[in-house]
């Protein structure tokens, strides 16, 4: 009996995949691949997601370590704030970012040095804002699963706290950080709402893959939209496969 529910949902997922795939012909797909717009969107999405993920890691890993290992004033509150972008609708996050960079004194000062609003930089900022909490959550859980005794023992063998972190904790958390990075990258690739608000939807300028789907649907170019959707579907499948591969020990088995 219970299985019926599972079968129902699996069928629903499969229907979504098939609805996209079956509406595509190889010719349409080929045409899409050769179109400048699709190529631009793929490259922009890849680049911005890569930069945003790298930034999310730089900020997220030390933050996760602090949350996992230290006790400090207002920790609960800070913890909730970090999680907020996960719960908040991306559109609202984007609106907030837009107002911050466009309308506040600090945002205006920043904008003097680097233009964020309605630029490709805005895409990276929006993706970073949405993806960082994912990195923090995943990596924090990994740090918490590592017994602090490892670091303490490394320190008793002469390492400083920083040395112990880089030589012992970080390599031990490697798999979890990689999984967190893949998850964040996938989140960046699919990011739409915040990007739309902060970077806008300008064809061939701030046109990431999801924005491209949106723009093409809005002008009735269903074929191109479907082709891009198919590319994104493939990316999603690859993401799940690579996370499973990393977590099951496929990468760096000797580290487990």
């Amino acid at each position: 009996m219970r299985r019926i529910f599972l079968i129902f949902f699996v069928l629903m997922v499969l229907s979504v995949i098939l609805s996209i795939a079956c509406n595509l012909t190889p010719e349409v797909m080929l045409k899409a691949i050769n179109s400048n717009e699709v190529r631009f969107a793929v490259m922009l999405s890849l680049k911005s997601a890569l930069i945003a993920t790298a930034m999310a890691l730089v900020v997220g890993v030390p933050s996760a370590y602090t949350l996992a290992r230290s006790e400090f004033l207002l920790k609960e509150l800070i913890d909730s704030l970090v999680d907020l972008p996960v719960v908040l609708p991306p559109l609202i996050s984007g609106l907030g970012l837009l107002l911050f960079f466009g309308d506040t004194p600090i945002g205006k000062i920043i904008s003097k040095f680097i233009q964020v609003v309605f630029t490709p930089t805005g895409i990276v900022v929006a993706q970073f804002f949405i993806a960082t909490p994912f990195v923090i959550r995943t990596v924090r859980a990994v740090f918490e699963s590592i017994d602090p005794k490892y670091e303490l023992i490394a320190m008793s063998l002469g390492s400083s706290k920083t040395e112990a972190f880089f030589k012992v904790v970080l390599p031990m958390a490697r798999k979890g950080i990689l999984a967190g990075a893949i998850l964040a990258w996938a989140r960046c690739m699919g990011e739409f709402g915040a990007t739309l608000m902060l970077a806008g939807a300008t064809r061939m300028r701030t046109e990431t893959l999801p924005i491209a789907v949106y723009l093409n649907i809005s002008v009735g170019n269903i074929d191109l939209a479907l082709s891009i959707a198919f590319v994104m579907l493939a990316i999603a499948v690859l993401t799940i496969a690579s996370i499973k591969f990393v977590v099951s020990g496929g990468v760096g088995n000797r580290w487990s």
Binding site: D147, K149, Y150, L152, I153, A154, M155, S156, L157, G158, S159, S160, K167, V168, P171, M172, R174, R254, W255, S256
Partner: protein, 345 residues
């Protein structure tokens, strides 16, 4: 020389409190106590993993209480091998200078040369402990802290590693501070033992003194004194159901002949003798009846005796049980070769 001065640390159920304890340089010192007695916490305070609420830890007259862990010259030997490093890299972790030679030397000492290329996950528990010991010794520490290093090892590995620890200690001439709940481990390895209970040191002395003169009932029981009898001091004898002469007839009575005492007799000091030989001994000889016999180890047996209505436990070699044909109900003579007055209550 390590000194623990007035260290206090509030724990969940009790307070760890050490007034003063000095551990000499090069000593093998064992903290012995049941689980949850505060031994590991004390070790963590010495290593700097935890800060005490008050008090000082002094190493060679220098106060190291607030010193960073990596500047203390105190190495902690616990399992926790770094799982992403080979055995070689684990041992080499803290070595400054010629890593290769030092690792080789230690690996030879601990007989783990063949394991150097292996990853920790492929090692047995005993091998892991050997690597952990090598890793701690590799940094030439002043003090090595060993937290239950022989725990969860099979019997054979436990015994061989115990012997090797003793040998290593002699060879390296480093101060070893070892924490365990295993009494046999403690008496085999230690120069001195501190018996710790609910955060307080019950007794700290040489192995011999602790075995012969346990300070109180808890220590007596903990160090394997199976026979604890209530008694009275009567002149130069003790009456605890059976009348005993203790310590070559010298008993401190404080002039009070009705002083209540606790008498402790180690099971190996209850000697079962054949009636023919009893003429060689002329004191503390009693008639007894065997109530029960059961094997203790492969070569020893425990014999429960009824001595004039008092139950005494003796331990003897199995061959003697066979030779004398001891069985339940056998009538024998026993000689109590040593006993201690534990506390005056």
């Amino acid at each position: 020389m390590l000194e623990i001065v007035g260290v206090k640390k509030k724990l969940e159920n009790f307070e760890l409190s050490i007034d003063y304890l000095k551990i000499e340089r090069g000593e093998y010192f064992v903290f012995l106590g049941l689980s949850g007695a505060g031994k590991t916490t004390l070790l963590e305070i010495i290593s700097g993993f935890r800060k005490p609420d008050s008090g000082k830890i002094m190493l060679n007259k220098e106060d190291i209480t607030d010193k960073n862990i990596n500047e203390r010259k105190i190495a902690v030997c616990q399992g926790y091998l770094f799982p992403h490093m080979s055995v070689y890299s684990n041992i080499a972790y803290g070595i400054k200078g010629n890593k290769k030679e030092k690792v080789k030397e230690l690996a030879k000492m601990l007989e783990i040369e063949h394991l150097l290329d292996r990853m920790p996950e492929t090692l047995s528990m005993g091998e892991k402990q050997r690597v952990a010991i090598a890793r701690a010794l590799a940094v030439n520490p002043e003090v090595v802290l060993l937290d239950e290093p022989l725990n969860s090892l099979d019997r054979l590995t436990h015994e061989s590693l115990m012997v090797e620890l003793k040998k290593l200690h002699e060879e390296t001439n480093t101060t070893f501070i070892h924490v365990t709940h295993d009494f046999v481990e403690a008496i085999t390895l230690a120069n001195r033992i501190a018996i710790i209970r609910k955060g307080k040191i019950e007794q700290c002395d040489t192995v011999e003194n602790i075995l012969k003169h346990p300070k109180n009932e808890f220590v007596a029981k903990f160090v394997g004194m199976k026979n604890l009898l209530d008694g009275y001091v009567c002149g130069n004898k003790v009456d605890c159901g059976i009348e005993l002469q203790i310590n070559k007839n010298v008993i401190k009575t404080n002039g009070n002949s009705t002083k209540k005492v606790k008498v402790g007799i180690r099971p190996e000091d209850v000697m079962i003798i054949s009636s023919k030989n009893c003429k060689f001994v002329n004191y503390n000889v009693f008639d007894a009846k065997v109530v029960d016999i059961y094997p203790l180890t492969l070569s020893t047996s425990r014999v429960v005796l009824d001595v004039e209505g008092v139950e005494l436990i003796a331990e003897t070699v199995k061959s003697k049980v066979l030779r004398m044909g001891l069985k339940r109900g056998s009538k024998v003579k026993i000689c109590i070769t040593d006993a201690s007055i534990i506390n005056h209550s």
